[in-house]
Symmetry: C2
Subunit: 177 residues, 2 copies
């Protein structure tokens, strides 16, 4: 790690990817640069996207990213049990449980007895919750559109298809329980 061949001082979050791939390949010949670049670009893009949506749309409305996802699932899947909400939103059951307490205290989500299993409960949006999620999602989608505007429709379709293929191909991908 002697000399720096690159002007490391001027890198930002995105262009660091180029530097990192070159550097890592040089230090570890076993590295597959293409796979590395793919994962790095994907995770950084997603992270920037989520951060932007959360800070510009949801925080101002008093929702965390997780809170938004939970309301979103209840909105589009209808009333459901915590277990199913956890699966669909990608959270742990404990996280759902804690988050539901918060959202319930805020009057956005209601708990009721589950139809046929007394261990479980049924979660549903309140009227306030429904109002909030529809309004918030409208703004959310506005912002999504300004992101998507950087791509043509064809490109957007290709990107979605490739992400789907990536996801499907990764049969080993574990989800949380």
């Amino acid at each position: 790690m002697a000399a720096e061949p690159d002007p490391v001082t001027e890198l930002d979050f995105l262009s660091f990817v180029d530097h990192a791939v070159r550097r890592a390949s040089a230090e570890l010949p076993v590295v597959d640069p293409e796979a590395m670049r793919l994962v790095l670009t994907l995770s950084r893009t997603a992270s920037a996207l989520v951060y932007d949506l959360e800070s510009s749309v949801h925080r101002p409305r008093g929702l965390s990213w997780a809170g938004f996802r939970l309301l979103f699932v209840l909105w589009l899947a209808g009333p459901a049990e915590p277990k199913r909400v956890a699966e669909l939103s990608g959270m742990s059951r404990a996280a759902v449980s804690a988050l539901v307490n918060t959202l319930s205290r805020a009057g956005l989500v209601a708990k009721a007895a589950a139809p046929s299993d007394r261990r479980s409960i049924r979660l549903a949006l309140t009227d306030d919750g429904h109002s909030l999620i529809t309004e918030a999602f409208a703004a959310h989608n506005q912002r999504e559109q300004s992101w998507a505007a950087g791509l043509t429709e064809a490109e957007s379709g290709t990107l979605i298809a490739l992400l789907g293929k990536l996801m499907a191909g990764a049969g080993t991908a574990k989800r949380r329980t």
Copy 2:
């Protein structure tokens, strides 16, 4: 060693995206379904990817995802100040500060006086830190390769290019300070 494929959950997720897009479009005619599908697919794919890498590669080595990212940055950018590490790794300065304490206590990162600014410090990998990150990244990249294996080389290149374009087009994307 428990890397069990869970196709049911993944399919559940994929079909939820379809369902969600249809449902949201029906309830809110103003919604752009293509932008919605793009963001949903992207964030969910990235989330599955990160979760898989973290749980299969880094947790077993005692590293959190954030801890890995910090070591990764120091490894490839060389010794740097916390401010720059925060920029390159996408964390807040406070998070870097806290994380460096942990990693420093674990003997992976060393703090030293910054060359020319007495407000700042210089962070660097220790020998142990260097050993750990190279070993961990080798395993990390192995796993990346098994994800990338689902795509052809051409598809992978296209995907990277489209993500880059998406990121570049979103000039309004805010980064954290």
